[in-house]
Amino acid sequence: MNTPAEASNNEARDLKKVFLVGSPNVGKSAIFNALTGSYVTVSNYPGTTVDISSGKMKIGRHHQFKIVDTPGMYSLKPITQEENVGRKLIFKERPDCILHVVDAKNLERMLPLTLQLIETGLPVILVLNLYDELLARGMQLHIAHLEHDLGIPVVETVAIRSLGIDNLSSRIVEVMENRYRFNTVELKYSDEIEENVAKISGLIKKDYSISKKTLASLIIQNDKDVLDMVKGEGDFDKIKALSDNTVSSQVRYKISHERQEKARDIITEHLVVDETRKRGVWRERLSQLMVHPIFGLPILALVLWFGLYKFVGEFGAGTMVNFIETNIFENIINPKVDIVFHSIFGDNMFFDLFAGEYGIITLGVRYAIAIIFPIVATFFIAFSVIEDTGYLPRLAMLVDRVFKKIGLSGRAVIPLTLGFGCDTMATIVTRTLETKRERIIATFLLSLAIPCSAQLGVLLGLMAGNPKMLFIWALTIIAVFLITGFLAKRLVKGEDTGFFMEMPPLRLPSLMNVFTKTYTRMIWYFKEVIPIFIMASVAIWFGKLTGIFDFLVRVISYPVTWAGMPEGASPAFLYGFFRRDFGAAGLFDLTKKGILDGNGLLVSAVVLTLFVPCVAQFAVMWKERGKGMAIGMALFIFPFAFFVGFLVNIILNALGVQL
């Protein structure tokens, strides 16, 4: 005889299963709670730390179902552990009904998963949750028409207020009792994909309770788990060969793109917008302009002009640096430090370690606090605002076309954007790019043409008073980025990759988010920068004591003068070996002392931007791309940076330009 616990388990096992599927933040848990009440158990999916909630759902006197809240997922082609668990549950547990819960106001983003779920052949109900928010934005959906075109039940709900839950319950019963006639939409992919999908589908003979089309479309995307599922097939070798023969990254891109297009068509047909209340539409139009190949460019220029030039360059690197440098360090701290350490050490070498021209406090700490701090603070504020609006994924889509010409895709925006924060960290992130060629080109461009935050800020600050100089500098760096990228694409063999991503909605930046991000990034930055600046000061002190510093300055002065810069600019380039921003801060000092004139400053700024990666970045390049590649890149970049400076100087002189 069964114990009560066993009886309860058996009962749960025998119940028909309803699965809740959907991405995070769409109110899946609210729907789950509204349907289950308090009969909930939470357990880990075997072998993972992913929580699965399940409970019983009672509808009237006669209907009882098991309901499972699956982890958040965006696609049936999983990337995260949560998505993987969600898909395993759907594929292995064979639900009797799937509720795909979506955020109604962002239906276009979420409909591709509905299409995927429909394609599995499992019974799906589309739940348009947060429907009140859609109405509040002056939008409405033709639900009956949408239901007709998708061929599945469509229900609108506001789960937190229990609105639409009764209707949803009765639709679930309708599906469970096989009273609903599914007449599902079939998504036709492009001919080439359909052909391969058909070939693989024809080779799958066993029943997996998931449609062969779904399995085949995942197999041509080289999905290892699905390939494992069909390992027992007699024609497995042929299936594997077909999978190996497709370029999975391109197929993935095409399939995602075609699904998104289909979703867009459906939305265009069934979404009604109240023209008098089109707050959401305004955002949608702006979003489209941001990714437009022509109109997107002036928007990008505006973002860079106000975000970087005006705020970081003029305000951070100009006003704030001048105030802290002159009023606090030059007038108060440095003279006092000199007096104190002179009274302790007199004129001996330890005075120079802490004070004087190159001391830890008068140089290292001053650079970090007076020059770098205001610049990175303003940079991180601007960056956090841009990030919080949702502009970055749009930037990725905008530059995707150009990036393809240099062997990259829009995905490379992630490491390249992070490079403006710190090139070392960004070099590690290049490992997330799909192909080896992309990883090599991105590493190369990061070490050549992407200045880190503080370096960029200092350079912007130095040139802020002279827009013509800034324009020539920006044009030179962009030209170097594109030309070297274009040549690198031809030099490094490899396949082109596609890029497609769901667009999160545009939003107004939240003050709290901007504060949090800026604060945490500043803490991270200073934890890293202060010890290195202090170490650099000690190294310079030691170098001066032993004569190594003067020797190295002399060596580096040859390419410096050859490129048309004054010999006095040489120490800044030596600092640049420690960190790029340390070098830029050195340049700031030289300009203040009047060592650099306009043309000299431009050439120095160009060379320093392109100059060799700092020690930390070089070490990461070595680790990530191998020593041959790292040394090769550094050996190319060092003379190339001076060569570009030399060219800029020659052109300026030939044209008689004096900045």
Binding site: P24, N25, I79, L418, M425, M512, T520, A616, K623
Partner: protein, 59 residues
């Protein structure tokens, strides 16, 4: 936490940290989004507590 790039919501504890092997002192401790690999610094504890308090107050 929510990824600043693709808005994917994930558990900070389960996410990968990206700093292994670089030369930085103590690593950069950035948190990598499992979906798009964008990296963000971890929120300090005091900000998390403050946010929780703020959310409670809102309810």
């Amino acid at each position: 936490m929510i990824c600043a790039f693709c808005t994917f919501e994930f558990d900070e504890k389960l996410a990968q940290h990206s700093c292994s092997g670089c030369l930085k002192l103590g690593g950069c401790s950035m948190i990598k989004c499992p979906r798009c690999s964008y990296e963000s610094p971890p929120e300090p504890e005091w900000i998390k507590k403050f946010n929780r308090l703020f959310k409670k107050g809102k309810r």
